[in-house]
Symmetry: C2
Subunit: 269 residues, 2 copies
């Protein structure tokens, strides 16, 4: 059996490109359709109800593209919308919370785990609930870091000010003796080195993107949905956005590590 | 003649509340309907085409509320959408650019004016074009400050980090010998004291909100649209938003200086 349909991935904007990068690495033969909701980005400060509505619209767009699996590559949408939407669609839908949670629970030795994310992600307690479900002895320390996304989008990845802001936000974690932290937002891997520096070398950073790609591979294998095409060229990633494509194409390279060939605007969401 | 219909004001989010505050001060007898597009905020990094579409939807909502004048209380929308939309509607529509520009041109002595705003506002050159139309000898120095809005929304109005970020962005203006600067975004008045400190006491800060309120009063007078009602209570401001109202009501107090009685969510935009 071979299923040549693409994998659908959506995010509020371009943060989900960190997931695209890892999916390309783990599943180089698969086609990908990416949708970034750049006209309505960010989702982080918005309400659950609104994010569910946006997520359903994004999924309907991906389904028009005949996708075989949908990855919700946005931590905020995964936190507050996944449970409400996955039960209504036949296509398998996976979020970015569970893979990061499994990895963090596997890695931690002292069972003290930090979570950083957007306001809505942290408020949802989605990470906390799933970690405690795996091991009720795990202690979770969550912090919302609303300025991290604007900093990344401004391209201030390693400036002195960025270091200070990261240090400021993470201060309350410093004396909590955590040995693992989940980067609970797809933008945060771009601040990895600064976060590592602030928390010290002993704290393990869990970047969900990589775990998500492993999880996607597993689902496709289990459900017999893998393609048997030859390794695809980068052109088999189709990028769609809801705002003008120019800025996305330009900034996207920072996340992906290679130039985006073509980004198209869709107005039906 | 007395026209008791409300004034309609819209913004991408809550920044426009700085305009509401000044309109209440200048026109205490008028009713106001405010719409904050909080589900799609911010407009600043988005494209002209998308902002025009959002603005038309917002105007159609305000027209359903039978408004007699519309104030586009968002610098980004005023910069890129006003010209395209005002010609299509019968209702008078005013933006926040022209009032700030007139005031700055009146105040400046050395004809060297700074402009700060979002990426899209600065890219549009709307301020520059209008200033030069008034006086071709005026020299304009524009800087986009994308982190100012997230800083204000995070409530970091006077922290050390905020001072550093403001100093960083405004550094290129320091040796330009400007005597006037237009705060080209409705969020920026909340950073007034830090901006003043960085630029020094000699630079005059133009806060468009106040000028907009004077301009609105003038239009209503000229067109015979003033009400003759008695001074209204604060309850005659109706607040509508496109995302959940709780956060807006809570944060809005910072902008308005008084508690918002009731904020309602509308889903038709």
């Amino acid at each position: 059996m071979s299923d040549t349909r693409p994998i659908g991935i959506f995010d509020s904007g371009m943060g989900g490109l960190t997931v695209v990068k890892e999916v390309i690495r783990s599943l180089p033969n698969e086609k990908i359709v990416y949708f970034g909701d750049t006209a309505r980005v960010p989702y982080g400060p918005k309400s659950k109800e609104t994010i569910i509505r946006f997520s359903i619209e994004n999924i309907l767009f991906l389904l028009k593209n005949n996708v075989k699996l949908i990855i919700v590559a946005c931590n905020t949408a995964s936190s507050v919308a996944l449970a409400a939407i996955e039960k209504n669609f036949k296509v398998p839908i996976m979020g970015v919370i569970e893979p990061g949670v499994s990895e963090a629970a596997r890695i931690t030795k002292n069972k003290r785990i930090g979570i950083i994310g957007t306001k809505t992600t942290v408020k949802s307690s989605a990470y906390e609930q799933q970690l405690i479900k795996i091991d009720s002895k795990i202690k979770v320390f969550s912090i919302a870091c609303p300025l991290f996304v604007p900093l990344v989008e401004e391209g201030w990845l390693k400036t002195k000010i960025t270091q200070q802001i990261v240090a400021d936000y993470l201060m309350p974690l410093k004396n909590k003796n955590i040995d693992t932290i989940i980067l609970g937002c797809t933008h945060y891997p771009l601040l990895k080195s600064v976060i590592q520096e602030v928390l010290g070398r002993k704290v393990h950073l869990v970047d969900s993107a990589r775990q998500v790609a492993y999880g996607a591979k597993q689902i496709l294998e289990e459900q017999g949905l893998l393609t048997n095409r030859e390794k695809t060229a980068r052109q088999s990633v189709c990028f769609y956005v809801s705002d003008e494509p120019d800025n996305f194409a330009e900034q996207g390279e920072k996340f992906l590590g290679f130039a985006l060939n073509k980004v198209r605007k869709v107005s039906n969401v």
